[in-house]
Every structure is written in structure tokens, then in C-alpha cells.
Amino acid sequence: MSSALIENLLNILPDFIQASKETGIMLLVGLSSAAIFGGALGTFLYLWREGGLLQNRVLYFLVGGLVNVTRSFPFVILMITVIPLTKKLAGTSIGPLAAAVPLSIAAIAYFARLVELALNEIPRGVIEAAESMGASVPKIVFSVLYVEARSPLILALTSLTVSFLSYTAAAGIVGGGGIGDLAIRFGYYRFQTEIMVVTTLTLIVLVQLIQVSGNILAKQFNHK
């Protein structure tokens, strides 16, 4: 009984490694675009809002609305909706790179709001002090905002990573591959419960690792 179980698991090892790579690709692409584009978008939303350093009601309303619309889509529907764009960007509509396109879009919108929230927590007086010393907006963004909010920003990225680990599983449904896809194909369709258990355990451990490292990093960078 137990030797059959081990054999099953050994048989699936190559698939498991392949699936881990696919999950890795999806996460890496999704998170980098979220960090760069979502980070920039969130910063602009913060600067454009009422009383912000670059207050602009029209842009805040339009871009904020776009972010909200994107976030309203159930992820599976978003994936299907953006297939034409996916084909243009990734050259195909299946595989981890293709799945990374809707993942990135969802991640950018989600992270933009998280960044806006994190920046909002900075006391107004600190920003005012920088303004009154003649600092330009870019100087304030990079030397005050990102410095004061770096711990909340690290935690926001951590929580984004955890959410998107489960999104990558959904991406498997439309041929994205990944660990979640493996669990469904072998564990669910072929009734190999042990594989379902192993993959789920892997995901649980992964989530714990991500959260704990995020917490440690955030603490390391906080001097408040």
C-alpha cells in the first residue's frame, strides 16, 4: 500500500517539477509587472487624489474607475476576456506565459490600490515638511513616500503574492499549467488523492514561507 503510494509520487515527480516551474513563471511575471506598473499606478492615484501633491480629479476618477472595473471581474472571466490581448503579447493563448498576461492585469489593478492605501497612512506633516524644504514631487516620492511606507509596501506585496498563488491555480484551467493545474489533473480527474494532498501541502508550505519572509523583511525595514 505504502510502496504503491511512493511509486505514484515518484512517477509524478517530473510533472511536479515542471508544474513548479510554470507556477514560478506565472508568479514572477505577474508580481514584477504588479510591482512596477501597479506601484507606479498606485503612486499616481495617491498623488492625484483630493488634497494630493498633484491633485487631478479627472485623472483620479478615470484611472481609479478603470482599476475598479478590472478588480470587479471574476478572474476566470477576465482571463477569457483578454484572450485577444494575450495572443498579441504572448503569441499564444495557452501555457504559463499566456496565463501570465491576465494574471499581470489583475495583479497590477490589485496592487495599485494596495500601494495607494499604504501611502495614505503616511502622516501628512512629514510630507508637508519635505514640501516646505523645497523638495520636488519625484524627490518626495522616492525619498519620503517609498521610504516611510516601505514596510506596508512589503506586506502589500506579500499579500499579493499569496493571493496570486491561488490565482495561478485557476489559470491552470485554461492551460496555464502550474501546481494547481497538477492537483486538478491528477488528484481530481484521476482520483489520485495522494497527489492532491501533496500538491495542496506544497502550496500551504509555500504560502507560509512567503508570509513569514514578508513579515521578517517588513520588520527589518521598519524603524518607527
Binding site: 512629514v126 508637508e128 516646505s132 523645497g134 516611510e148 524603524h223 518607527k224
Partner: protein, 244 residues
Amino acid sequence: MITVTNISKKFGKGKDAVTALDQVSFNVCEGEIVALIGLSGAGKTTALRSLNLLEQPDSGSIKFNGKELLTLGALELRQLRTRIGIIFQQFNLISNRTVFENVAFPLEVAGYSKEALVARVEECLRVVGLYEKRDVYPAQLSGGQKQRVAIARGIANRPHVLLADEPTSALDPLTKEEVLTCLRDINQKLGVTIVIATHEINIVKRLASRAVIFSGGRIIEELQVKNQKIEAKHEFTKRFLEVA
């Protein structure tokens, strides 16, 4: 040095508008310590914050060394602000920057070279007596030390004038003394002109040479401080001096 003429400022619009400043005029002379005093909501803080345009007056004129401030463009305003230091009641230090890095901030803005920056930051930290704390983060300092770091930051770029918005109001009596001494030192030894907004009459008596009394957004009177005493003429000021 600074001439303020008939500035007015309203907060809010229409019926809910509150008049913060109503035709206020005063001036600040080179090298002096002038105090803007009054109760909460009297307009002293708004008047102080108008001097570097943290509040933009609705009308009137503010001349700084002959130059009109209210018509400055964004870039000119930023350049002007590098020459006006300011400290706040809540210190407003950057908590994830060390003491050294906080004092360095205005010098980075002003475009100092690396060596000049290090030398000037160290000089300013010595002036406020916190050289040993250079690599410490603000959270590890007492309130008085935080305000002294803010003073070092305020004078780092050799400003013509230092604005002080309720600089001792968040401090206990002992640390008030520490900040008071520090402000007097930079005025007497470095010749920095200081404008201080406060409701603490003791601070005014001990530090200032002149007091401008605010009430309801107007200036009631201007008084000389002699031998740490203020001779009030106006009824309101007499009452204020008694209770404060």
C-alpha cells in the same frame, strides 16, 4: 526682511467659510526673534505658514527681501523654500531615515555635493548637540532631541529665517527648556532670524524681542518684550497674559 501687508485667508467656501486671517500686516526684521501669539484659531499659525506659502493667502502681499511671494511660479517657490527653514509641533521627521539622513534631506534637495553635505550635516548636528546620535533613528530619541534634530534640519541649508510652529507645545517642561536654549543659540551665534507661533507666553517672554498678538484672525497689537516682561495696552492682551 519680510513685510506682510493686508493678507487675508478664508478656509472653506460659502456659508461655512471661516476667516483665518483678516487684513493682517506685520514685518520681520533681520536677526530678531518675533513671536506670533494668540489662542487656538486666532490665526497665528496660518500667518506663520503663509510666510513660506504652506498656506496661500487669498489676497494681500508678502515681500521677502523685496521680492513678492504671492506671484511666484512653482519652481521659484521651491527655490525660495530652500532658504526658509521650518520646524513643527509634531517634529515631522522621516522615521525610516537616521538623524544624519534627516538633516541631510534639505541639502540633497539643494543639490549639495557629497563632501559638502557630510560636512554641513555634521556641523549642524554639533550646533544642536546631537552629533553622537547621528546614526540613530528618530524613534529612539526623546521629544526634545527630536525637535533639536528638526532644528538642525531647519538650519542646514543656511536659511535667512527659521519658522517655528508651536515648537515646544508637545514637550514637557524640562525638554521645553532644551529646545528654548537651542533656538536662542542659533539666533545669537548663527544670526538666524526666527519667527515663532506659540500660545505659550513664557516662551515668548524668554525668547522673543517682539510679540504680535492675534485674535479672531486680526492683529490686536504689537508689543516689545523688555527684560522678559510684556507691557500690554489692549484689554484683550492683558487678559490673555493673565491666563496664559
